[in-house]
Each structure stands twice: as structure tokens, then as C-alpha cells.
């Protein structure tokens, strides 16, 4: 089971957090998490795994991957395969890439809810449900369609910024 997914930049600023076991309750733990992880994450050309029992409870492992200015971190337990998790990060990033065409940190910063939508299609309640980025894209597009449909049915966009952006 996957316990948590986190995306953060190299300075330790969180970009996305999703905890499938509700374990990080205290703000302080959350802060220290993002403070310490980038320190723990090591130089290039070393293995990407870490024992994470101390942070996430017993039987926790952590795998991270470094893309440009971002770290993608998955926390999982012994029912997942380490290398498969590494592949899954790749799937996630590939999907993001397809979705945003050459994804960069800014896309991730500004598309908070879309990020969640994509992730929810890949990981469902801590289990890996879909590993094909094409399939994920299909569903995500369907959801966007629904969203825009519901918005057009509703009143004209009302906020100043929404109006300004058009």
C-alpha cells in the first residue's frame, strides 16, 4: 500500500501532499518533514530508497526521484515493490508531461486540483489502480470536460480575476 505521495521543490517547499493513511496530524511534524527530507535526500548517483520508519511508522519505505527542480516522493510499505514504485513515479511524471506539455514546476504550482485529479486516477486509496498514462489522460480529459460543461451551465464567471483573465 502506498502511504503518502509528496511533491516538493529542491528548497523543501511542498507542492503537493497526499497522505493515504491519515498519519501526519501535527503541523509540526509536517513542517519537519519538508524541512528534513531535502536534507536527507542525497547526491546524484546514489540509490533512491530510504528507510522511513521513523517518520511514517513501522514498515515504511520511501523512494524519491529528482526531476529538474522537483522531488517526487512516494512512501510505501512492504506490499509494494521498490522498483515498481520508481516506475510509478515515472508514470506520474509522464502523465503530467502529457497533460501540460513539457511540465515544469510552474505548471505544478498553478494546477493544484488537476494534479490531484491525475494522482487520484493512478493511486486510489493507497492502491495502484492504473499504470498507463494514456488511460489516465482519457479519464482526466473526461473530468475536465465535465468541469467546463458544469461551468458553462452555471452563471458567467463572476470573479474579477476570472473576468480579467478572459
Amino acid at each position: 500500500m502506498i502511504k503518502a505521495v509528496m511533491v516538493m521543490n529542491t528548497q523543501g517547499k511542498p507542492r503537493l501532499t497526499k497522505f493515504y493513511e491519515f498519519l501526519v496530524r501535527k503541523r509540526q511534524t509536517q513542517f519537519s518533514l519538508f524541512f528534513f527530507l531535502p536534507c536527507l535526500i542525497r547526491a546524484e548517483n546514489v540509490s533512491n530508497f530510504m528507510e522511513a520508519d521513523s517518520i511514517f511508522g513501522p514498515d515504511s519505505r520511501l523512494v524519491y526521484k529528482h526531476y529538474a527542480t522537483l522531488y517526487f516522493v512516494f512512501v510505501f510499505d512492504s506490499s509494494e515493490n521498490e522498483l515498481a514504485m520508481l516506475d510509478l513515479i515515472q508514470v506520474f511524471v509522464e502523465t503530467l508531461d502529457k497533460c501540460f506539455r513539457n511540465v515544469c514546476e510552474l505548471d505544478i504550482v498553478f494546477n493544484y486540483s488537476k494534479l490531484h485529479t491525475i494522482l487520484d486516477e493512478i493511486i486510489f486509496g493507497g492502491q495502484v489502480l492504473e499504470t498507463s498514462s494514456a488511460e489516465v489522460m482519457k479519464v482526466v480529459e473526461e473530468i475536465s470536460r465535465q468541469e467546463s460543461a458544469s461551468n458553462s451551465i452555471g452563471l458567467v464567471t463572476k470573479t474579477v480575476s476570472g473576468w480579467r483573465n478572459r
Binding site: Q30, R42, V46, N81, A84, F124, G125, E142, T159, S161
Partner: protein, 926 residues
């Protein structure tokens, strides 16, 4: 108007990005806005506010529990975008304990039944994240329906949610399990199989036994599937199942080996290796193949693969150490790999390779390596050496002299932070292994002598152990005067008070020892001078004493003393040294130090006049000397009584004396202590030191006439200890120590306390019994005797409490897998009973729902009768196999009863031939 100027999420993000320092001020400003906006009745305004809040919650970790109700409002909006915002907020922030969580039940049900696929997905996702008992119970029927949905994405999510249902509401198994198993066979749609296998993998990791009957289905997937994700999960399941059923292991070995050699995916290959090494380690040829693949991983360029290769070796090491030995060089070389994971893993492997024959060599290499590596890894190395060597009461150590000097060497390593562990081991070895004491004392002395070590706070614990050892086994010291000097050197002021107290105590012991041996040599020379005609009282007693001492195995010690005479000059020197070094400490602020310093000073005050006379030959000399020696002997006896390890359970074996009431409130203790404490603190005497060192015997034997503590307080303490054993220090020394405390007689309280001394004597006897036989067992030359207690070395761990939830889950699974017709009855009964117990108002509704489900299920089972029938056959056999297990369970008689009923019924149905083969794996497999 409100919404016209509302900031969108993008605005917030931009705003946050432009804040350099005052981010928190910005956030609180936004929060203020959100609090206002979220109260709006306009759905758009509300959902935008909620979205902003969710964002801040997950990025800046602000609290959003207060907005729970608003999130619920949002999911009830018909607009999909708003609904989605609400669902995201709920799944990010709700916990099982969120008070309003039950309010979403109806909305979830509505969305689960929705025609819009993405809405159903949202609801399923939400349920899988926050579902608690009530939600899961209420929504099981809807999920059950969705599990048969024709829309693949919905169906696979419904299957995924089943895991949550089973975990929170085990009775859902009775409803959904059959459909879940059927989904295993839907080979036409890979996503479904993948989802189901994922669910079974999670379920099997908790209780593999219950899923053994499904082995044939898993096997089919293992052979047929081409999807690596699915195969990995199936392998995970088999890793759990194979150890339970040897025939299954035999069956799967071949396909797994084939998969391992054919696959190009490293993840799958690694999973195959892991499965073989963990669960199929008996199959020699398979392990050989796996070892070959591990070698490939080890030489790979990718550090991840190298790390996992070493990890795999660590798995195989306990059973097939040859696989590790084959790669010995690589493992040793990896110790210096830049990758910390690889380093740690190879260290683990090196420790696996340690055996009696090579422990010296390996430890030498590792200690050398530790001195060269960075502090953190250095301590990891030292820690693993310490734990490996002390494993199972120093099982692999043959040459204790070597090990003790290694401990000394390790303490001198610059970055060593393992003071506590080394301290414990030094003292532990000192007490367990008699033969090594001279070497221990030598090592301890070397550490104490070095003034540089006193400056390193990490070493203080070790120094404390060294000081204690040198004091306790002072008879092995070549030059006690030198020891005194190092114990009282000025730099000891750098030590923390607790350690300093130990130093002082040891100095006291050494002083008494010096005086004792001085007086002894003096009397013996007297003796020869006076001739045999006058057998002096003191010399006689000294002979007696030394005879008694010899029994304690100090023969070697006495010879040592004779080598270095203690001259009158050195005695004077010692007394002066004490005046100088200890004198100032009598005013120390630390009570421990002050008390001990005063003890020593009090003693020297007493002994000085008599001794100084005896130093100058006079007529009265003899008489004086007798007096002095009496005093010294008294103390020497106190200190020379040997401390033995005491079994953890020794206390429990002390019989409770008649007339003692143990089950009384501890409030009495206060009354007892209140009267005794001031009295005891008022006395300044040698008894204080005795108290610390924990030699029990002297007061019981010599000072019985003195007051004894009230039996009440002792027994209450004993009771307290029995009840709260956890909080008492576990080491043997302290057990004894504690006893000493219990027996410590408050000075001015006159009471006849025979019971207590009986207690203590019994205890002493028991303690002796518990380790004497082993100590006396033949003295092997190669390895000194290590005292082991028959049972008390480790705290007995209270038997684990089985988890109620898991139990009920696996029982439910078992019941369903049995597939018997009684299911229906039990289900309705149980559902009815459940609802009566759980929810007063809801029972009717629930029972109705459950019945609906039953109708569903019946119609289902009607269409797919075959597999069900087959399964029932298998499971009857499985039940027979399970019989043994059920015998052990207590407090489950009701359930057992039900099982029993099934068993008899099925026993009649099935031909006896089937019953005989007591294995749950069906023939189909074999």
C-alpha cells in the same frame, strides 16, 4: 457583491509567490477572507473559498477542520466543479473522528448511484479515503452493486474501495467477497484483475491463511498474466501463502523460476528473487538460480539495483550463507561505497557472516574501518559490532579477554557515541564471566588513568563502568594506590555527578582494600615476629577471612597483592590524598556526591587515629591494630561480597510470608514511609554506601539485632514492583540493588522483622540456585563460563493480544470461502444482532438492507453455482486443517460453536476420503 471581488485560487498562489518574508501574514489574511467567504450562500463563492482553504491546508498546513460542514455543503451542489472541490476538501481533511462525517452518508449514496461516471468515481475515492465503520456499513450495498458495473473505471474503483470496507466493517465480506473472487476471473479486462489482485495482496498480507483456498485462482494468474504489475502482486501473495502449504510451494517454484529468467523487467525479476528467497528457500535449485540473478544485480551500474541486490543477499543470509560468502569480496568492498544505503546493507551482511571462528578478524577489520569513516557511519558500525557480539549472551565470543580489550579500544575511538551500550556490556560481562575480571580491571584501569578521556562526555558512561569494575574487583588491581590516584584526579570534576558518585564509591572500596591488605601484611609480619606462641586475635580472624575469600575465587588476587606491598608511607599518602581530594566534596550540592564523600571522610576520621598509632611501633600497637582491623574488616566484608546476576523472575519466586496482605492500597505506603524516611536520612553511616553497592548479606547476618524495616513497606514495594515491573530497571545489578533498598533498615525503628530477612535469604538462595549449577558446570578451557539465568535474562513479553478486527475479518472471509448454505442464516442473524448493538435507531433499516443484499447474492450465486460449490468442498477440508488453530482460541466459544456445527454438517455431506487429506489446497493444483 461579495463574490465580485473574491480572489481565486490562482490569485492566492500568485500572492504567495510574491511574498518573500511575510508569508504567514499573507496566509492569515487569506484565511480571514476565506472564513468570511465560505459562509456565503452562493455556491461558487463558497466552493472557491473552500478550494483556497484546501490548498493552504495541504501546502501551508493550516487547520481546516472547522470548515468540515462547509465541505459537506459543497459536495451536495449539483455543479460538478463545486462537488469536486468539496470532495477534495473532504478527502484531504476528514478523519474518522470528524464529528460531521456521518452527514455525508446520504450524499455519498446519492453520488454512488449517479449516472455520471466521474461523480461515482469521486464518491468512491472519498469513501476509500475516509470511510469509517458507519459509512462502510451504510454504503456496502451500493459498492456491491457497483462491483458489477459495466463501466470498467467505476468497477475497478469499486473493487479498490472494498479493501476499506473489509478493513472497517468486516461483515462486508459476507456481501462482497464472492463478487470479488469472481472478478479474479475476468481475464478479459486487465485493469479489473489488477485491482482485485491489489486488494487480495493487501488482505493476504494481514492474514494469509484465510486466502489459501484461492490459491488455484492466483496460480492461474501467475501462469497466464503478462502484466508485470499484476505479476508482482501475485508474487507478493504467494510469498505469504507458500510457507503455509509445502505442496503449493512445490507447484509455484517452476513458473516463478521461469518468470525470473525470462522477464526483462528488473522490478519483476527482483520480486521473483525475493519470493524465492523468502518463501521458497528450501528449493535449492531455485535459490541457486536466484543467486545467479542477484550477482547480475550486484554488478549493475544503477546503485538502486546494487542496493536491492545486497538487500536480497541479506534476506537469504540466515538460510543460505553460502550465497553471501560467494560475494564476500564485493560485500566488503561495498563498505566504502559512497551510497549510504549500500554501505549499511553491506555492513548488515558482514555481520551476518560473523561466526565464532572469524569474529576476531572481522571485528578487527570493522573497527579499523570505523576509525576512518565519518562519525555517523562509525557509530553504526560500532553499534552493530556491539549488538552482534552480545547477541544471545555473547554466544559467539570465545576469547573474552580479547572482547573486553576490544571494548576498551572502541571507547577510545574518536567519534564513539556508544557509551551506554559499552557501559552495560562491561558490567554485564564482569558479572557473568568470572575469568575475565582481571582483564576487565586492566582495561578499566587504563581508561581511568587517561586524563584526556575525562573531557569527552560520550565516554562518561564508560568511565563510570570502568570505575565501578575497578572498585568492585579491586583485588585484581596491581597497584591500588595508583588506581586511587586516578579515581581522585582533579579532572574528575568534569564528570557528571552521577558518574562522580561512582568514582567516589570505587575510591572508597579501593581505600578499604588497601588498608585491609596493609593491615594483613602487617599482622602477618607481626605474627612471624611474635612466633607461634601468641596467636593474635586479629590474625586468626584474618586467616578465617582470607579462607572465606578464597572461596570467592580470589586466589589469584591475593597473590597479586603480595607482589606489591603497601607501605605505611603509601597508606599515609592515601589518607592525605583523600583529605585533599574528597574533603571539598563534602559540601557538594549533589546529594549523592556529598553523601559518599562524607562516608569516606567519616571512615578516614575513624581510622586515622588508630592507624597512625599503629604506624609507629608502640606497646599499645597491637591492641590498636586489632581495633583498626576490626573496622576495616567490617567494611571489607561489606564490599567483598560478590554480586551475582539475579533472574528477572526471582522476585516472583519468593514465597509470601504468612500474615502479609499484599492486595492493599498503596496509600498505606505513604504513611509507612512518612515515619521511616526522616529517620533514615538522619543517619550518616557506612550503611549509606552499603545501600548503594547493594551487597545484601551483611546486614542480615551481622546486624540482625538492629532494627528492621516494617514488613509492610517491603511487601508493598515488592507488590508495586510486581505490578509495575516494567518501570523498574531491568539489569540484574539493579534487581539486587533494589532488594538492598527494600531491606535497608531505617535506623531508629525498633521492630522485630524476621520475615524480611527470611525474604532476603530466600531470595539469595534462589538467586544462587538459579545460576550456580551453570557456573559449576565443567570449566571449559576454551571459553570461560558465562553465567546465564535459566529464564530471567529477558523480560517476559506478555503474550500478544490478537486484534479483534483482523480476527473478525479473517473469520468472515473464512465463512464466505466455506460458502455453506448456513451463511444466509448467520448473516441475517448477525446483521440483526449488530444493528441492535451498534445503532439503536437504525436497526430496521439495516436489516432490510442486508436482506436486500442477500437477495442479490442469492441470485448471483444461482448464476455461478459451479465455483461456489467447488469452493465449499475445498473449504470443508480447510476447516479440518484449521481445527487445531481454533482449539487455542479462548473467549470465542460462540463462534467456535458455529464452526463446529458446520464441520459436522459437512462431514456428513462429504465422503470421508476427502476429509482425510487435511490440506486446504485443492487437487486442481497438484
Amino acid at each position: 457583491m461579495d463574490s465580485l471581488f473574491q480572489r481565486s485560487l490562482d490569485d492566492i498562489i500568485k500572492g504567495l509567490r510574491h511574498q518573500q518574508a511575510g508569508e504567514s501574514a499573507f496566509v492569515s489574511k487569506v484565511l480571514e477572507e476565506v472564513r468570511r467567504e465560505i459562509k456565503s450562500t452562493d455556491s461558487h463563492t463558497k466552493s472557491t473559498a473552500l478550494q483556497k482553504l484546501t490548498y493552504l491546508h495541504s501546502i501551508c498546513f493550516v487547520d481546516m477542520s472547522w470548515a468540515a460542514f462547509h465541505a459537506i455543503e459543497c459536495i451536495s451542489y449539483p455543479n460538478f466543479t463545486h462537488k469536486k472541490v468539496g470532495y477534495l476538501a473532504i478527502s484531504q481533511s476528514f478523519q474518522e473522528s470528524t464529528p460531521v462525517i456521518l452527514l455525508i452518508s446520504n450524499q455519498l449514496r446519492k453520488d454512488l448511484k449517479s449516472n455520471v461516471e466521474v461523480e461515482v468515481s469521486l464518491a468512491l475515492e472519498c469513501l476509500s479515503r475516509i470511510g469509517n465503520l458507519d459509512l462502510c456499513r451504510d454504503l456496502t450495498p451500493e459498492v456491491f452493486t457497483l462491483m458489477a458495473s459495466s463501466r470498467i473505471p467505476v468497477r475497478k474503483k469499486a473493487i479498490g474501495v472494498v479493501l476499506r470496507l473489509f478493513g472497517k466493517y468486516p461483515d462486508a465480506v459476507r456481501v462482497c467477497f464472492k463478487r470479488l473472487v469472481e472478478s479474479l476471473e475476468s481475464s478479459d479486462s486487465p485493469p479489473i484483475v489488477s485491482a482485485v489482485i491489489g486488494v487480495f495482496c493487501e488482505l493476504a498480507s494481514k492474514d494469509p491463511k484465510a486466502y489459501l483456498p484461492l490459491a488455484p485462482e492466483f496460480y492461474k494468474i501467475l501462469v497466464d498474466s503478462r502484466n508485470n504489475w499484476v505479476l508482482i502482486k501475485v508474487l507478493k501473495i504467494f510469498t505469504k501463502l507458500a510457507p503455509l502449504e509445502p505442496r503449493l510451494a512445490k507447484k509455484i517454484v517452476e513458473p516463478i523460476c521461469e518468470l525470473m529468467s525470462k522477464t526483462g523487467a528488473k522490478s519483476l525479476m527482483f520480486e521473483c528473487i525475493r519470493t524465492i528467497l523468502t518463501s521458497l528457500a528450501e528449493h535449492e535449485s531455485a535459490v541457486k538460480l536466484a543467486a545467479g540473478r542477484i550477482n547480475e544485480l550486484l554488478i549493475d551500474e544503477d546503485p538502486n539495483l546494487r542496493y536491492l541486490g545486497l538487500h536480497a543477499l541479506a534476506i537469504v543470509a540466515p538460510k543460505h550463507i553460502w550465497a553471501v560468502l560467494e560475494n564476500k569480496e564485493f560485500v566488503i568492498k561495498s563498505l566504502s561505497d559512497p551510497d549510504p544505503n549500500i554501505k549499511l546493507e553491506s555492513l548488515r551482511l558482514v555481520m551476518e557472516m560473523v561466526s565464532e571462528s572469524n569474529v576476531v578478524e572481522i571485528c578487527r577489520v570493522l573497527v579499523n574501518y570505523a576509525t576512518k569513516s565519518e562519525p555517523e557511519f562509525c557509530n553504526v558500525i560500532l553499534g552493530s559490532i556491539l549488538s552482534t557480539c552480545s547477541n544471545n549472551v555473547y554466544e559467539i565470543i570465545v576469547d573474552f579477554d580479547w572482547y573486553v580489550s576490544l571494548l576498551g579500544e572502541m571507547s577510545r575511538i574518536q567519534h564513539c557515541q556508544k557509551g551506554e551500550e559499552i557501559e552495560n556490556q562491561l558490567i554485564d560481562i564482569g558479572m557473568r564471566v568470572q575469568d575475565v575480571r582481571p582483564e576487565l580491571v586492566r582495561v578499566g584501569r587504563d581508561l581511568l588513568m587517561d586524563p584526556a578521556l575525562l573531557g569527552n562526555p560520550f565516554l562518561h558512561r564508560i568511565l563510570s563502568a570502568a570505575a565501578w569494575l575497578c572498585g568492585e574487583y579491586v583485588e585484581f588491581i596491581r597497584n591500588p594506590v595508583e588506581l586511587m590516584e586516578s579515581l581522585l584526579q582533579p579532572r574528575t570534576s568534569l564528570l557528571p555527578p552521577s558518574v562522580r558518585a561512582v568514582y567516589l564509591e570505587s575510591a572508597f572500596k579501593a581505600l578499604v582494600f588497601c588498608l585491609h591488605s596493609y593491615l594483613k601484611s602487617a599482622t602477618s609480619s607481626d605474627h612471624s615476629a611474635l612466633g607461634l606462641s601468641d596467636p593474635g586475635v586479629s590474625s586468626q580472624s584474618y586467616d578465617e577471612f582470607s579462607g572465606a575469600h578464597g572461596e570467592n575465587g580470589e586466589a589469584s588476587g591475593t597473590t597479586l597483592i603480595q607482589e606489591n606491598h603497601i607501605t605505611p608511607d603509601s597508606v599515609l599518602h592515601l589518607l592525605n590524598l583523600i583529605d585533599m581530594a574528597v574533603g571539598p566534596l563534602s559540601g557538594s550540592y549533589d546529594v549523592e556526591i556529598q553523601e559518599r564523600a562524607r562516608n569516606i571522610l567519616g571512615f578516614t576520621e575513624l581510622i586515622k587515629p588508630v592507624l597512625s598509632d599503629s604506624l609507629h611501633p608502640q606497646d599499645e600497637r597491637h591492641k590498636q591494630q586489632v581495633e583498626a582491623s576490626k573496622m576495616v574488616r567490617l567494611l571489607h566484608d561489606t564490599f567483598s561480597d560478590e554480586l551475582g546476576p539475579v533472574s528477572m523472575s526471582a522476585q516472583g519466586r519468593v514465597p509470601v510470608p504468612d500474615g502479609l496482605v499484599l492486595h492493599e492500597n498503596l496509600a498505606d505506603l505513604e504513611a509507612v514511609c512518612g515515619s521511616s524516611l526522616p529517620a533514615s536520612s538522619a543517619t550518616i553511616s557506612f550503611e549509606g554506601s552499603h545501600n548503594v553497592e547493594g551487597a545484601t548479606s551483611i546486614f542480615i547476618s551481622d546486624q540482625k539485632e538492629e532494627s528492621e524495616p516494617s514488613s509492610e513497606s517491603t511487601s508493598l514495594l515488592a507488590e508495586h514492583r510486581k505490578r509495575h515491573g516494567l518501570y523498574y530497571l531491568p539489569s540484574e545489578k539493579n534487581t539486587e540493588h533494589h532488594e538492598a533498598n527494600n531491606d535497608y533498615p531505617p535506623a531508629n525503628e525498633l521492630k522485630s522483622g524476621v520475615t524480611v530477612s527470611n525474604d532476603a535469604q530466600d531470595l539469595a538462595k534462589l538467586a544462587e540456585q538459579s545460576f550456580l549449577p551453570k557456573r559449576k558446570s565443567k570449566q571449559v578451557k576454551a571459553r570461560p563460563v558465562v553465567v546465564k539465568l535459566d529464564e530471567g535474562d529477558v523480560l517476559p513479553i506478555s503474550s500478544k493480544i490478537p486484534q479483534a478486527k483482523d480476527d473478525s475479518l479473517s473469520e468472515a472471509v473464512r465463512d464466505v470461502l466455506l460458502g455453506n448454505e448456513a451463511d444466509a442464516d448467520t448473516l441475517t442473524q448477525k446483521a440483526a444482532a449488530d444493528s441492535v448493538i451498534r445503532k439503536k435507531g437504525k436497526e430496521k433499516l439495516n436489516a432490510k438492507e442486508q436482506e436486500d443484499d442477500l437477495d442479490h447474492m442469492d441470485s448471483q450465486s444461482g448464476t455461478v453455482q459451479n465455483p461456489v460449490k467447488e469452493r465449499s468442498k475445498r473449504s470443508s477440508r480447510k476447516q479440518n486443517a484449521d481445527e487445531g488453530d481454533h482449539g487455542g482460541d479462548k473467549g470465542k466459544q460462540k463462534r467456535r460453536h458455529r464452526h463446529g456445527k458446520h464441520r459436522t454438517r459437512e462431514g456428513v455431506q462429504n465422503p470421508p476420503a476427502n476429509v482425510i487429506s487435511q490440506t486446504p489446497v485443492p487437487d486442481l493444483l497438484l
